[in-house]
Amino acid sequence: MKLTRPTAAEAFRAAAIWALLSGLLLWFSWHTATTSARSGFSSLLDQQLLPAIIADGGYRIAQYDQDESLLTRINHDLQHLSVSGVLPVISSCSLHLSNLHGQEQQPAFTPDQRISLTRNTSEGAQDFLFYLRCDPDYPLWIGSQLTLAALATLLLSLLPAPLSSLQRHWYRLLQSRGMTAAQARPLAGRIAALPAPARHTLALILQQRPQADSAEAVRLSAALSRQPDPAWLQQALARNDCSLATALDIACAADSLSFIPGQQTVVIHGLPLQLPQTPYLYYLWYALRRSRGENDGWFINPPTNRPDRDTGAEISQLMAALGGHGKAINDLNSAGLKAKTLDQNRSKLKDELTSALGDELARHYLFETERDMTSGRTRYRLATPAAQINIPAESLGAIPNESEKHH
C-alpha cells in the first residue's frame, strides 16, 4: 500500500482512471435511470391511460364523436411527470402521444426514447406511440457519479499492484536469501526501478556474497556514480577481508599502480597487495623506469655471460635506501645485475599478482616482452602506462634523481 507522496506519473494515472470511470458511470447511471423510467411509464400508460381511451371490449370510449381536443388534453397531462429513486438523477420527464384516432401532433420537446403500446380494438390492432424525454438533475447526477468514480479510483489504487516479471524475479531472489515477504516486496520494487547496470552490479554482489545484507547491497548499488568493473568487483568480493563498500570502491577505481612507502605494499586498482621484499623492490625499479620514460620503460636483459654492473649498482642503492635484504644487495654489488635475477623476480611477481588478481586482471600490471632487434636479446618492461603509475617521493628514500613529476 502506497502511503508515500504520489509521483506526477502516478497522479496523472489516477486522474486518467478517474476520468474514465466517471465517463463510464455517467453513461451507465443515465442509461439505468432512463431505462427504468421508461419501463415504469410504459406500465403506467398501459394501466392508466389506455383504458381511458380504449375500453376493455376494444371500443373507443367516445365513439360517436371525434374529440379533437382529446389528444391535446392527454398530452397536457403527460407533460410533467416525476420519478423517484435512491438518487433522483432525473429531475423530470415528459411524455407525448404522437397520434390518436388519426389525429397527429408533434412533441414540443426533442424525444430521447419511444414507448410503443398496442391495443386490440374492434378496428384491429392499434399502435400507440409515445415519445419520452427525461432531463437530468445535473448537479446531483454529475456530482454523485464523479464521487462514486473517485471512490472506485481510490479503491483501485489501494489494490496491491501485480509485480512485473523483473520485480518478481528479484522478489523471489530476496526471499531465497531469507527476507520476509513484507520486506522483500518493497525492496524488489526499488531494485526493479534501478538502471540495468546497477542491477547487474547488485546481482554480482549477491551472488558472490550469499551472507551479505541485501538491503545494504541495494543501497550501495543504487548510490554508485560510476559503473564498477565486473571483473574487479568479482575479484574484490572474493576476498573475505574486503567489505562490501570497499569492494565497490575498488571496482569503481581506475586502473592505477601505487607504491606505499615503507610497507612493501602496492595498491593496484585500489586493491592493496603486500609483496615479498625483493620482488617488491624490483617491481618498484621497473615502475620507476616506466614512469620516467627511460627508453619507454624497456630494459634489455643483460647477456648471460656479462651481468650489468651499472644497473646493478643503481638497483642496490635503491634497495639499500629502502631496507632491502642484504643478500640481494651483496649479489648485485659483487656480481652485478644478472638476467636470471630479473627473470626470477619477475616470475615471483607474476605468481603473487596472478594468485591475488587472476590472470586477466594481473596482466595489465605485469610485464611485456619483446625481442630487441639490435642485440638479439629479450627486453622487458612494466605493462602499466606511466600515467597510471603513482610513486610518491617518500617511497624512494634517498635516491638522488632529477625532479621528475610523479603522478
Binding site: S29, S36, A62, D65, A152
Partner: protein, 281 residues
C-alpha cells in the same frame, strides 16, 4: 518469461479489479434506478360548469351518450338563474350506453341521464322507484345512403357493394337495425363485404373517401355532423328512438320547466328536429 506464471500472477489482480468495478456498477445501478409515480390524468369525458362543488346535493349530474352539444347543455343550465339558484354546479358526462349500471340507478348517481327505454328496463326493472321518464327525444328516420346508385333491399345489390357499420353491437342505428333489416329481407352478406368502424367520424370519412359504398345514417336536413349530401337513399326505419331523458325523483319540481326547455333546444340541435313541444312557461 513463462506465460502461464505471468497470467497466474495477473489473475488475482484482474479479479480484484473486476470485483471493484462490479461493486461500483452495482451501487450505481441500485441507486439510479427510478420508479415512476402514478400519472395524474384528467377526466376526458366530462365537463363541469358553475360554482365549485361544495355540497353533494347542490350538484346537478347528467349522464349522456355523446359529446355533441354536451357542454352547451351544461352551460345553458349554469347560466339559467332560476336553475343555478337550486343547483349552482352542473356536470355532464358522456359515455357509451353500457356505462349505466344498476348501482347508478339505485344510488341515483345522476340527477339526469339519457338512454334507451329497453336498456333502462333491462338494467333495473324497478327503475321507477328512483327515476321517471322525463323527456322523450324526437324520433328520427334511418336511411341507407349511397353516392353511386340507388340502394335496393336485394341480395343482388348488397352482394356487390361494401357496407360500412359501427363495430358496437349495441348501436341501434349503425349496427343492429341495419343488420336486422338485411336479415329480415333474407340477405346474407359475407363478412368481407362489411367494414366495421370504431366511431361515426371514421365511418363518415370512409364513406367520403369511397372506401365503403353504402352506410346507414339518420336523416338530417342539414347537420355539421354529417358533412355531405348523399345522392341516393333507401329507408331503413322512420321511427327510430334515440332514447329518453330520465330524471331522478329527488330533483325538485321547481326546476322541471327550465330543464324541459333546455332539453328541447338540445334535441333540436342534436337531432336537427323542429320540436313540437312548446316551452312550458
Amino acid at each position: 518469461m513463462n506465460l502461464t506464471s505471468e497470467l497466474r500472477s495477473l489473475l488475482p489482480y484482474s479479479l480484484m479489479v473486476a470485483a471493484v468495478l462490479a461493486a461500483v456498477l452495482t451501487v450505481s445501478y441500485l441507486s439510479t434506478r427510478q420508479s415512476s409515480r402514478p400519472l395524474q390524468l384528467s377526466d376526458y369525458y366530462s365537463y363541469r360548469c358553475g360554482a365549485e362543488p361544495s355540497l353533494p346535493d347542490r350538484e346537478f349530474r347528467i349522464l349522456t351518450v355523446a359529446r355533441t352539444e354536451a357542454r352547451a347543455l351544461a352551460d345553458s343550465l349554469c347560466s339559467n338563474p332560476a336553475f343555478s339558484a337550486v343547483y349552482p354546479t352542473v356536470s355532464i358526462r358522456w359515455q357509451r350506453r353500457d356505462y349505466l349500471t344498476l348501482d347508478h340507478i339505485q344510488e341515483q348517481s345522476f340527477e339526469l341521464f339519457f338512454n334507451r327505454q329497453h336498456v333502462v328496463s333491462g338494467i333495473a326493472p324497478n327503475y321507477t322507484l328512483f327515476y321517471s321518464l322525463f323527456h322523450d327525444s324526437p324520433h328520427y328516420t334511418l336511411e341507407w345512403i349511397s353516392d353511386d346508385d340507388q340502394p335496393q333491399l336485394s341480395d343482388d345489390y348488397f352482394r356487390h357493394r361494401t357496407l360500412g357499420l359501427l363495430s358496437d353491437p349495441k348501436s341501434q342505428s349503425y349496427h343492429i337495425m341495419p343488420l336486422d333489416t338485411l336479415n329480415a329481407a333474407g340477405i346474407q352478406l359475407p363478412e368481407s363485404r362489411i367494414i366495421y368502424f370504431s366511431d361515426t367520424y371514421s365511418l363518415y370519412q370512409a364513406f367520403s373517401s369511397g372506401r365503403v359504398d353504402v352506410i346507414p345514417v339518420p336523416r338530417v336536413s342539414s347537420s355539421a355532423q354529417i358533412p355531405f349530401r348523399a345522392a341516393y337513399r333507401l329507408l331503413i326505419s322512420d321511427d327510430m328512438s334515440p332514447g329518453s331523458w330520465y330524471l331522478s325523483q329527488r330533483v325538485s319540481a321547481a326546476v322541471h320547466c327550465d330543464l324541459q326547455n333546455v332539453l328541447n333546444r338540445y334535441g333540436e340541435k342534436v337531432f336537427d328536429h323542429e320540436t313540437d313541444q312548446t316551452d312550458c312557461r
